[in-house]
Amino acid sequence: MKIMVPVRRVPNPDVKVRLKKDGTGIETEGVNFLVNPFDEYAIEEAVRITEKSGGEVFLVSIGGPENEETLRAGLALGAHRAYLVDLGGECYESSGIADILAAVFKQENPDLVIMGKQSVDTDNNQAAQMLAAKLGLAQACFAYKVELQDGKAVVQREIDGGLEVKEVELPAVITADLRLNQPRYASLPAIMKAKKKEVKKVTPADLGAEPKNRARVLGLSEPPPRKAGQKVASVDELVDKLVNEAKVL
């Protein structure tokens, strides 16, 4: 089984991000970047499948040369090889990213695509769905259990108030939720091995992709600072404040 896992480079989610002064993006200087946590679940799932029944996992990361670090981290988790799609400074929103992923898919023809359910920086949660649509593939998002059986994947998904079990024909696009597995730590020998694995550097043009942006980010702004809380002496005072100050009752 050949499995494609796209991985995104995101700022360490435990660190507070700061906006650039002109509001066009976030300050990247001195920021520690990591593999998007949801993508780690995707890599883990893909690697477990190939460890059990053979095959290979290849990663795709889209961005700039710095994404090589992200890919090495993913390769250290057991993936076999990787694509680095260098945008040469360009930026694409989800649809453009899905265009590029679709082009990689067409070159490689994997049996399965597993992605993180969303990226923890922009929280768009749409590249996977768009990719499935562009390729005309079945999709099963927010998987918490994946079982493969002759040409199909049975995916359990958590939905509000219960579980949904879905059967999709392969190739399909599956996205990983938190409870799918417990990603491993990269062992030191695995980190060493990752250094020698293939990272193929390509541009969208090399892939024959013509990514298009259909949406544009006009600006970013910080949330208003949170005001300090208040202590109230009695339930009456609380109700009074909720009615008259907060005006929520």
Binding site: E69, A76, I191
Partner: protein
């Protein structure tokens, strides 16, 4: 030397940091209170390559350089200094001498299980009468047919309580004094090997510090490490590497304390504002950060020299340990101060860091010894 971490070193740091925060930090306070180490951590760290970071993969290790070793010990120590020294004593004081002075058979038999974390190791050098004066070791080893017979007592042995194997320095020729010392690989299941007692300590309480007694302890002849009479040299060279580990532990303790202090200073309100607004607090933090960086750079320099294959880096390793242990003392003392009364009680972790810091000025050569090593190098010619 490169100030920046390369891709591999960055990944090692990220992995070690995450492991430390997710797996070790939740256990640290409990391990300190009960003075027991959770041995499953050794197994987990073994699988990740942390129990032999700088030992080649063919011998069960992580196959990294000494800089990575320093990074791993720092990250572990930043959340739990006991875990830091369990790894450091095991790696520097037991794996490293076997790797450098052992025969191929010795490496296969002992280094592989050690470096892969299936077994913990220790070094038995110190004795009741031989502390700073390590050459005064009285434990004896006498060849009897195909076996060495050891007699004597080793004290204050880190990992002594759980070690599966000990590198032991003993005298094979009392008349030759320190030139009559030799090193041995002693399996804990050898007849006559006894863990006599566990010490109760001020800090690094989760790490075992034990007395080992050898009573007609018999080990195979081939368990001599290096040549007869090389024991003192092996011990001293081993300690050079070990001091890089302890310096890294000290940097980790200091950094952990500083991070706690920064977070607390931003949160704690007095006079209607966070105490981080007060210059008195800001300057403490600034001093901590500056000294910690300086200590880390000295430590990485010594690690770099070891990686480059410098024959002698005793002076640089001594400087790193001397300075870093001092920084650990200052930073933890000031961190307690930033916490005020809350720093003095065990609900917050900084009092543990304060207690843990002190040992870094004592073991693997006291600060006085480090100054002796450094000044000797200065006055040599």
């Amino acid at each position: 030397m490169n100030f920046e971490l390369d891709d591999v070193q960055t990944l090692v740091r990220d992995t070690a940091r995450r492991f430390a925060q997710e797996e070790v930090a939740p256990l640290a306070a409990e391990m300190d209170k009960t003075a027991t180490f959770r041995m499953e951590l050794v197994k987990q760290m073994g699988e990740l390559g942390f129990m032999g970071v700088a030992i080649p993969e063919q011998y069960g290790g992580g196959g990294m350089d000494y800089r990575c070793y320093s990074i791993v010990v720092e990250e572990l120590s930043a959340v739990c200094a006991s875990t830091g020294v369990v790894v450091s004593a095991h790696s520097s004081l037991c794996c490293d001498p076997i790797y450098r002075f052992g025969t191929e058979e010795q490496k296969k038999k002992y280094l592989v299980p050690l470096a892969s974390g299936r077994m913990l190791g220790c070094l038995g050098l110190t004795e009741p009468q031989a502390g700073t004066d390590a050459g005064a070791v009285r434990t004896t080893a006498v060849l009897d047919g195909n076996e060495w017979v050891l007699n004597g007592t080793k004290i204050f042995i880190t990992n002594g309580g759980q070690a599966g194997v000990a590198v032991v320095i003993a005298s094979t020729d009392r008349s030759a004094k320190h030139r009559g010392l030799s090193a041995f690989i002693v399996p804990a299941d050898a007849p006559g090997y006894k863990v006599a007692k566990e010490e109760h300590k001020l800090g690094i309480r989760a790490s075992s510090t034990a007395e080992l007694v050898f009573e007609d302890c018999r080990i195979p002849k081939e368990n001599l490490l290096g040549q007869p009479g090389e024991g003192f040299k092996i011990a001293m060279q081993t300690l050079d590497g070990g001091r890089i580990g302890i310096a890294s532990q000290a940097v980790g303790i200091a950094r952990g304390a500083m991070e706690q202090a920064i977070a607390y200073a931003k949160e704690r309100q007095q006079f209607g504002q966070p105490i981080a607004n007060f210059q008195a607090i800001q300057w403490k933090l600034a001093d901590m950060a500056t000294e910690i960086d300086a200590a880390r750079l000295l430590t990485w320099r010594a690690a770099w020299m070891k990686d480059q294959g410098f024959k002698n880096y005793s002076r640089e390793a001594a400087m790193a340990k001397l300075f870093a242990s001092d920084v650990a003392m200052k930073a933890t003392r000031e961190a307690v101060q930033v916490f005020g009364g809350y720093g003095y009680i065990d609900e917050y972790p900084v009092e543990r860091y304060y207690r843990d810091a002190k040992i870094t000025e004592i073991y693997e050569g006291t600060s006085e010894v480090q100054r002796m090593v450094i000044s000797r190098a200065l006055l040599r010619d």
